[in-house]
């Protein structure tokens, strides 16, 4: 029982990271129907920004987190303006290939400048254990879950209570109609990228603190899995992405805990294929009929 509680907390911590990345995927997909493959690499950049900031200036967890979020949001907007903006009218395949290209470009540019060797993350948070019903729970996990929830509430506030959030919802519903209503669609899309990338950057720092090992290709697998989480929750749906992330994190941890750790990565893809075949709209998605 104690062990299960501990595994559950581990799963939720992992799920928090997936959920934060998945939010960016789902927001971008909701607004321009593009799978932003480069999102996982923004997550990686966030981790490295936090790492270098912590090493150079000896700053704490929260300043590193905020710095990574700010720089990642700028990077996200640059990616959108340079690569994706021209593709608004292009075919889905062209957009997808470009996204893959951007992803590889970021990964290998980072490797080119600093090599592929992994880094050990500095100790930004003091590790201590809390005793809960006999299970010892790392204080890191608690803080990480708390930070994730704060960020999600902040996102919920931005999307539902602010003007830019309203614009985002309008554009994702119908971009042409939104433009007719005087919404600046380009700026709204850029804002979406900025917010999504900031969340990915935050996830990067959290990942570094929690798993203490980062490398330039670390964004690939979490990126794919966060996408799976977004599909699981229903792509385009913000609460769906959060729920999908937590479900995926817990499932993966359980698969590892029962002794199939080598199959852990396969579990996510099996979930993806099952959900695509059985309920392609995801848990929270609405089924849209195809119109000609």
């Amino acid at each position: 029982m104690m062990e299960w509680l501990q595994q559950l907390v581990n799963g939720v911590s992992l799920g928090s990271i997936y959920a934060l990345i998945a939010l960016g995927y789902t927001m971008v997909y909701g607004i321009i129907k593009l799978i932003n493959f480069a999102h996982g690499d923004v997550f990686m950049l966030g981790a490295f920004i936090g790492f270098y900031a912590a090493i150079r200036w000896d700053i704490g967890f929260i300043p590193a987190l905020i710095l990574a979020m700010v720089i990642c949001s700028i990077i996200g907007v640059i990616i959108e303006r340079v690569a994706y903006k021209r593709l608004r009218g292009a075919t889905r395949i062209a957009a997808l290939i470009t996204a893959i290209g951007v992803s590889l470009f970021i990964e290998y540019t980072v490797i080119f400048f600093r090599g592929a060797k992994p880094e050990a993350y500095p100790e930004l948070l003091k590790e201590s254990y809390i005793d809960l019903f006999g299970a010892s729970i790392s204080s890191k996990s608690v803080l990480i879950i708390a930070v994730t929830i704060v960020l999600m509430l902040l996102l919920q506030f931005i999307v539902h209570k602010t003007k830019i959030g309203k614009a985002m919802r309008a554009v994702s519903h119908d971009a042409d109609a939104a433009r007719l209503m005087g919404i600046n669609v380009d700026n709204t899309i850029s804002a979406t990228f900025a917010i999504g990338s900031a969340l990915a950057g935050a996830a990067g720092v959290i990942f570094g603190v929690y798993y203490t090992r980062i490398d330039p290709l670390m964004g690939v697998l979490p990126g794919l899995k966060a996408f799976i989480a977004a599909v699981l929750g229903g792509i385009g749906s913000i609460p769906g992405a959060a729920v999908g992330g937590y479900v995926l994190g817990v499932v993966e941890t359980i698969v590892s805990a029962v002794g199939f750790s080598l199959w852990r990565d396969a579990a996510a893809f099996v979930i993806l294929i099952l959900i695509l075949i059985l309920r392609p709209a995801g848990i929270f998605g609405k089924n849209a009929r195809e119109k000609v």
């Binding site: 799978i35 292009a90 889905r92 290939i97 951007v102 470009f105 080119f112 893809f269």
Partner: protein
């Protein structure tokens, strides 16, 4: 009449290329290093052409091609190393198993479209790879050692058969069905084309030839392990098709030859190679989203009278 003449011409051309290279190899004018480049080129052409059938002709965006290559590579390696079967039969078995894997993956996933299909194929390819990592019978993550059996003859005739089958398929009634799916799936369905059937057929044929390429690959490099078939490999294959032109067989062949040469020159700078690849991918998509040749073939470039009208 005209078609058989063209076929005759291409057969002569293929034979000439084969004989010239074979003579150069046996007389030692091309050493083992160049033979390796040529065989790698052939493997890449097979992979590019087989993916071209799936993406370029049928319009189904699959980014899990390396998974089927892995099936062909492993199954043929088991056939030669553990059962002592001759190499040509091992290639055939590899192709059959890769085709079966394609059927298994294709039937459920080809109902999906666009982005979802891409992610699902990627997922399946990763699952195939993880299965091989966990199979102790084939050495797990450490991989297996294989005798070298591939030579220029196998590689070249692999390419010839691949191109022959895929170009004939494309020009047949079935190929037209596949092209109509690429152009407009709903309209094709409305015209009475069994879209699911043709998508699966194209996918299975593409997978089977990826399996042939995998078999030739595994018997060339002495040694295979699951990491060789990760999704970077799939992206490598994807860039051949995209660069050459989505829907152009000769385009994917040319792109495969060109990029093989480029990557051999950049062998010692893998990061630079990937940066160039990805930048090329982005620039092509931004400025010429149909790839260099579009849906045209090289031979069409010389027929000026027939141009225009059908360029869309």
């Amino acid at each position: 009449m005209k078609k058989s003449k063209a076929f005759f011409g291409y057969s002569i051309l293929a034979l000439v290329i084969y004989v010239v290279v074979q003579v150069l190899l046996t007389t030692g004018m091309l050493d083992a290093y160049y033979e390796n480049i040529l065989i790698t080129m052939c493997i890449h052409i097979m992979l590019a052409v087989s993916l071209h059938l799936v993406i370029g002709i049928t319009g189904q965006f699959s980014i899990g091609h390396a998974g089927f290559m892995a099936v062909g590579a492993y199954v043929s390696a088991i056939a030669t190393m553990n059962f002592g079967l001759p190499f040509p039969i091992a290639i055939l078995i590899g192709a059959i198993f890769a085709g079966l894997a394609g059927l298994l993956v294709g039937v459920p996933t080809l109902r999906l479209k666009g982005d979802y299909l891409a992610i699902a194929t990627l997922g399946f390819a990763e699952i195939i790879r993880i299965v091989f990592i966990n199979l102790d019978y084939v050495g797990g993550a450490a991989g297996i050692v294989i005798n070298q059996m591939t030579n220029w003859t196998y590689a070249f005739f692999g390419v010839v058969i691949t191109i022959l089958v895929i170009s004939n398929f494309t020009n047949s009634r079935h190929g037209r069905g596949c092209i109509s799916i690429r152009e407009d799936e709903v309209a094709a369905d409305a015209m009475g084309i069994n879209t699911t059937y043709y998508k699966v057929v194209a996918f299975v044929i593409g997978s089977a030839f990826a399996g042939v390429a995998g078999a030739i690959y595994s018997h060339q490099f002495f040694f295979i392990q699951p990491t060789a078939f990760n999704f970077l490999k799939s992206f490598d294959i994807l860039i051949f098709v995209v660069l050459g032109g989505l829907g152009s067989l000769s385009g994917s062949v040319i792109a495969a030859i060109l990029l093989t040469v480029v990557s051999f020159y950049l062998q010692n700078f893998p990061e630079t190679r990937m940066i160039i690849y990805s930048a090329v991918l982005i620039i092509i998509m931004l400025y010429r989203p149909t790839g260099l040749l579009g849906t045209k073939e090289v031979t069409q470039l010389f027929k000026f009278g027939k141009r225009g009208g059908s360029s869309a």
